[in-house]
């Protein structure tokens, strides 16, 4: 779960990391009031959960409360990379002398945390690594021993950060690590970490991503989840326990297992088609889940054909067949369905579907033998061949 900047900053402040003064606004009038309180010179920051909001016009400077009000009127409702701006974080402007970077992330290769420090900041971390390799340093923190001071010193020295900042940056890195482990975060990041003209070091942005699997242990964070930020269909899918990602093609994909779902998408692509989504019904999907999956796919009007590609392990093909049959019985399915069933209870599943097709005289279900064949068929159907 990715938290909004304003939420992350609240956590950061609670742990003693300095941030600029600021408040959240839900409409232009609130923006004006907050701007007045902060003395007029403010930054308006769109609270949308996508990267690159600055470049996309989601961050604006205002020199007076009136100007802030006018800018806010334009910004509310803007759509940034598919995310509608519904919240603005209004912060005092900082006079910035220098931008730096500090962050922690889970490092799968070393099975620990990576502490990354850069004495230049403001860009994304790959860009810094490429443009300023001598200004960026990382160290692995073993979760069994925790973060030690020598590791902080090492990255500070290696990043060639001016020594006058070391003490203050250390005072920020330590609580940042505390925030990471306390909240079971996958990422805590300050970019940029700014040095102001008057010599203060302040977190000008704040990122905090929490491990979704651990959210049950952090009910106070779970509450902060902003469902308005999730695609409508994705939200419904999540509620139903399905892994769904909306894409921009026209072939609806339903498969079991993330790998199989991706492979199915890849096959469609290799055959010259475009998948409309990623949808993994997971292991051991019930007929109910399969039915829901069909419903979710159909919410996307661009879908021209559904390719359901099941290889049964825990998932039983007869359950899948039943789910599809229920879907056909309970809802209108205006597009053809390519169905491939293999693995556990394959025969039972194919038999159920065969009987259903025969009995109801449904011509839009195409039962195929292999996933390669299915992909080909689905692409043909989508192209109207």
């Amino acid at each position: 779960m990715r938290m909004h900047e304003y939420q992350a900053k609240q956590v950061f402040r609670q742990h003693g990391i300095p941030t600029a003064r600021g408040e959240l606004a839900l409409n232009p009038e609130q923006v004006r009031k907050i701007a007045e309180k902060l003395g007029g010179k403010v930054v308006l920051k769109s609270q949308v959960l996508v990267g690159g909001r600055g470049k996309a016009g989601g961050i604006k400077l205002a020199n007076s409360a009136d100007e802030a009000y006018e800018l806010a009127k334009q910004m509310f409702g803007m759509v940034i990379k598919g995310h509608r701006v519904e919240k603005l974080y209004v912060e005092e402007q900082l006079e910035i002398d220098r931008e730096m970077y500090v962050g922690f992330t889970i490092d799968r290769a070393s099975k620990g945390f990576a502490l990354i420090v850069s004495s230049v900041g403001g860009m994304d971390i790959e860009e810094i690594a490429e443009k300023h390799p001598d200004r960026i340093a990382r160290v692995t923190v073993d979760p069994t021993y925790g973060l030690w001071d020598y590791q902080i010193r090492e990255v500070l020295y290696k990043s060639n950060m001016p020594r006058e900042y070391h003490k203050e940056v250390t005072r920020i890195i330590k609580p940042l690590y505390g925030i990471l482990v306390h909240n079971e975060a996958e990422l805590t990041e300050i970019n940029p970490l700014v040095v102001t003209r008057d010599g203060r070091i302040i977190a000008a942005d704040a990122r905090l991503n929490i491990d979704d699997n651990a959210l049950y242990r952090h009910p106070e964070l779970k509450e902060l989840k902003d469902y308005t930020e999730v695609d409508q269909t994705e939200r419904i899918a999540e509620e139903k326990g399905l892994n769904f990602v909306k894409l921009d093609g026209n072939i609806g994909v339903i498969a079991n297992g993330a790998g199989m779902s991706m492979a199915t998408m890849d096959l469609i692509y290799l055959e010259g088609g475009k998948p409309a989504n990623f949808l993994d019904v997971g292991g051991g999907a019930s007929s109910e889940v399969v039915k829901e999956a069909v419903g979710i796919i159909l919410m996307d009007e661009s879908v021209k054909v559904i390719f359901m590609n099941i290889f049964g392990g825990i998932t039983r093909c007869d359950e899948v067949a039943k789910g599809l049959i229920t879907a056909f019985s309970e809802m209108e399915i205006p597009v053809p369905v390519v169905l491939r069933l293999a693995g556990t209870n394959e025969e039972e599943g194919r038999k159920l579907i065969g009987e259903f097709i025969k009995e109801k005289g449904i011509g839009s279900i195409h039962l195929v033998e292999t996933m390669e064949e299915g992909a080909k068929k689905a692409v043909e159907l989508a192209k109207g061949v």
Binding site: R108, A109, P143, E186, D211, G257, G259, A342
Partner: protein
């Protein structure tokens, strides 16, 4: 031979009284796997599927001489279950459970490695040493005994490839689903190392997906240490960057970990990568003949 598990493997099932645990324990027993007991705290002293149930893994190991365990307990308790198994001296632990918090996985990983045990998974379909032992949730009927080892991050893709191989008359030695999480107990490299030493295995199929650099590490290992041929498959060519695709592992991390980078790394060390699961099987057939 075979790797990780064989006919001498004596396994317990942690969570045997749950619906998943029971269902799969039954299938494993039916396959001929030596399932010698189960563990469910609070249900010690009872019996399920003809095997005794214990309160703790320690008691189960003492009571049955088990040297392996399959874990079906819910995500919130699965890290604990693995730790318990390690502490009780279990050598091979197969963790099926999906959705374990990553901080639990980190601790578990460190413990497993410190004690020198083998953890397969979590979030994996298990291990199948064909005709010898089967720990997990794979559909046994699709496998046939033979000389191809399979190691995979994806469950269903593994079945698909094994199924294709079997249809072409090519059997498998051991099939290992290493799991889709970011932090997993056993890497591609570790399994490749075992296959390299296994005299039953003649060729290895490696099934990867986007995210992480495990496949790139595998390529390095293949170049330096593998004498046996390896055939690859990588899922996720069309996965959009920055989107989660179900597995926590399947995140594109800033340019690295793409399908392209993995396919390139494998190709560069002489590994042919099939574009479809069917093609993978066909390459294997050609290589085994050649």
């Amino acid at each position: 031979m075979a790797i990780i598990i064989d006919e001498n493997t004596r396994a317990i099932v942690q969570g045997i009284t749950g619906s998943q645990g029971r269902f799969h324990a039954e299938r494993m027993i039916a396959y001929g796997t030596k399932i010698v007991g189960g563990v469910t705290p609070g249900k010690g002293g009872s019996e399920v599927l003809g095997v005794p149930v214990f309160d703790t893994v320690k008691e189960a190991v003492e009571g049955t001489g088990a040297n392996a365990s399959v874990i079906f307990v819910p995500a919130a308790f699965a890290g604990d279950a693995i730790m318990e198994a390690v502490d009780a001296g279990v050598e091979v632990i197969v963790a099926i459970t999906e959705g374990i918090p990553v901080y639990d996985e980190l601790k578990v990983y460190k413990k497993v490695k410190a004690e020198g045990r083998i953890l397969i998974g979590p979030n994996c379909p298990g291990v199948m040493s064909v005709e010898k032992s089967h720990l997990g949730i794979m559909p046994p009927q699709i496998f046939s005994e033979g000389n191809v080892g399979i190691v995979s991050r994806s469950g269903t893709l593994t079945y698909q490839v094994a199924y294709n191989l079997t249809k072409l008359g090519i059997g498998q030695s051991t099939v290992v689903g290493i799991g889709g999480d970011r932090i997993i107990g056993t890497s591609f490299v570790e399994v490749l190392e075992m296959f390299e030493k296994d005299d039953q295995t003649e060729l290895v199929v490696l099934i990867g997906e986007i995210g992480g650099t495990d496949e790139e590490e595998a390529a390095k290992f293949i170049e330096k240490k593998m004498s046996k041929p390896v055939v690859g498959y990588i899922a996720g060519i069309t996965a959009p960057p920055g989107k989660r695709m179900g597995h926590a592992g399947a995140i594109i991390e800033g340019g690295k970990g793409t399908a392209e980078s993995k396919i390139k790394a494998l190709n560069e060390v002489g590994v042919e990568v099939g574009r479809t699961p069917m093609e993978v099987a066909e390459i294997v057939k050609r290589k085994l003949k050649g």
